[in-house]
């Protein structure tokens, strides 16, 4: 395998994922019961044999750094030059915050120089997908490319959310437009190719391009600035990702949709593939326990994920994700919801289409997701009507 360095861009503010990003960086947002968003990209790296990884961080990175230290550091062996390390906007080259994705790389030329890899794989820390990067690396080498952009098919009506790529017959990129409006020609097609924010660069090309970009008036962004400028004068290729599941968790609704993708009987995103494990930090917790509610003689869980440490003592749970140590008491119902660590749902509560962040206790009889007016008055409600209850600021604070 070539000497490849991975740089994962993890510094975005995640404003559209607020309030889940109120106290943490977007890649550190819990996802899928026992994971955090970043675990999917990191697992892709490890499963692809890539073990030299820098995470470029800046906003609210404490919980992300703790997660990396606890869950990931130990599976890298420094003795054989493997590493995972965070690079905060670290004032090594300049004193500034990262001004954009390309600037984040520019500001870490020092670390690139330390490693001197042949190729650099640039990834985003906030996407959910399973991808073997080795196929794309082989493609890059075969095409003798300067840069290869990972692309995925997206429906034509969603193009304004993505960087849209047009390829020639050889796989060369002839056009790249960041978040374009639909035009008539495009509407005729069913799908188009979107950039996944996954790039392989020859290292010398990456350094030259980011240095050049740093000295221009630009938004210092790979999609908006670097790639469009490279197309006419460099070997720019597009690799088509052949598995169709790839999600950018940009908004609360996207977070909820992607969560729901995990729990159907035949899930769009399968966590149970033995040859592609998703790694994470796993605390020592007792198994989940489900008991019979004596009063109602019922305790029903369907199409849901239940994590270790959970105690379900009655109630009805449907299409939901329960993270570590969630307690559900009798006569409670939870539907189409995501409950994060240590959420306690007391007797008779009703929760529907909600995301409840860590440590929240819903006191007896609380109802969420049933009265739009009431929800909007008390909680954050997304465009699609998903109710979000953010983390408590006070330990033991309860919601009524």
């Amino acid at each position: 395998m070539e000497n490849i360095l991975v740089m994962i861009l993890s510094g975005g503010k995640g404003e559209r994922l607020y309030p889940l990003t109120r106290d943490r960086a977007k890649p550190a947002v819990p996802f899928g019961g026992i994971y955090r968003i970043i675990d999917f990209t990191l697992s892709n790296c490890v499963n692809s044999g890539l073990r030299k990884i820098y995470l470029l961080t800046q906003y609210k990175s404490l919980s992300l750094e703790r997660h990396i230290r606890l869950g990931w550091a130990s599976i890298f062996k420094p003795q054989i030059k493997e590493f995972i390390a965070t690079l905060p906007a670290q004032q090594r080259v300049t004193l500034n915050w990262y001004k954009g994705t390309a600037d984040a790389v520019f500001q870490n030329i020092y670390s690139i120089q330390q490693e001197r890899p042949n190729l650099i794989l640039i990834l985003s820390g906030d996407h959910i997908y399973k991808m073997d990067y080795r196929n794309m690396i082989r493609f890059h080498i075969k095409k003798k490319a300067d840069i290869t952009v990972g692309t995925v098919k997206v429906p034509i009506d969603e193009i304004s959310r993505f960087g849209i790529v047009e390829l020639n017959n050889d796989g060369g990129i002839v056009d790249f437009k960041e978040k374009p409006h639909q035009n008539n020609e495009q509407i005729k097609k069913n799908y188009t190719l979107a950039s996944m924010g996954v790039y392989i660069f020859n290292t010398d090309v990456l350094v030259k391009e980011t240095v050049e970009d740093a000295k221009r008036d630009s938004s210092h962004d790979f999609g908006k600035d670097i790639i469009p400028r490279m197309i006419p004068r460099k070997r720019v290729f597009g690799y088509i990702f052949d598995r169709d599941y790839w999600r950018d968790i940009g908004t609360i609704d996207a977070y909820w949709d992607t969560s729901m993708d995990l729990i159907s009987p035949l899930p769009l995103l399968n966590l149970y593939e033995k040859n592609w494990p998703i790694f994470s930090f796993k605390p020592q917790l007792p198994p989940a326990k489900i008991t019979l509610d004596v009063a109602s003689q019922k305790s029903e869980i369907v199409n849901s994920i239940v994590s270790p440490g959970c105690i379900i003592s009655g109630g009805y749970i449907k299409k939901s994700i329960l993270s570590y140590n969630v307690h559900i008491q009798s006569n409670a119902s939870v539907e189409e919801s995501v409950l994060m660590n240590n959420v306690h749902i007391q007797k008779g509560c009703r929760v529907r289409r909600a995301i409840i962040d860590k440590g929240i206790t819903l006191t007896e009889g609380t109802s969420i997701g049933y009265d739009k007016k009431d929800d909007k008055k008390n909680y954050f409600v997304s465009a699609k009507g998903i109710v979000v209850i953010p983390k408590t600021r006070v330990r033991g604070e309860k919601y009524v």
Binding site: V93, T94, L95, I109, R116
Partner: protein, 120 residues
């Protein structure tokens, strides 16, 4: 008048460059170390910087980062007796890398070229 900052720890080089570049019609400011250069750069705001790499204390590579931090667009020429730093990605942040020579033609041509590009 366009101004050039020359950073070199070697007195004779500073002296030579000052003479030659003044004759070319530039205003020349001199710094004998990286730290001094940072102070002078802030005060004098030169139009272009020529810097040596091997200097005691703050070397030219570190200084390059500091200069770009103060002005991302300032043209910088690395002027070293050694070619080995050409492979160091950090030196790629400069606009040119010219090996020291008794003949300063290449340096003078590059200075003119970078200043003209900047004007555009």
């Amino acid at each position: 008048m366009e101004s050039i900052m020359v950073v070199d720890d070697d007195d004779s080089i500073r002296c030579l460059y000052e003479q030659v570049l003044t004759d070319e019609g530039y205003e020349v400011v001199l710094a004998g170390s990286g730290l001094e250069a940072v102070k002078i750069f802030k005060k004098e705001k030169p139009d272009i910087v020529i810097l040596d790499i091997r200097m005691p204390g703050m070397d030219g590579i570190e200084l390059l980062g500091k200069v770009l931090d103060m002005d991302r667009k300032i043209p910088v020429i690395i002027n070293s007796a050694y070619s080995m730093y050409k492979n160091n990605f950090l030196t790629w942040m400069a606009d040119a890398y010219i090996i020291k020579s008794s003949d300063l033609t290449e340096l003078k041509v590059k200075i003119r070229e970078l200043l003209d590009t900047r004007k555009k």
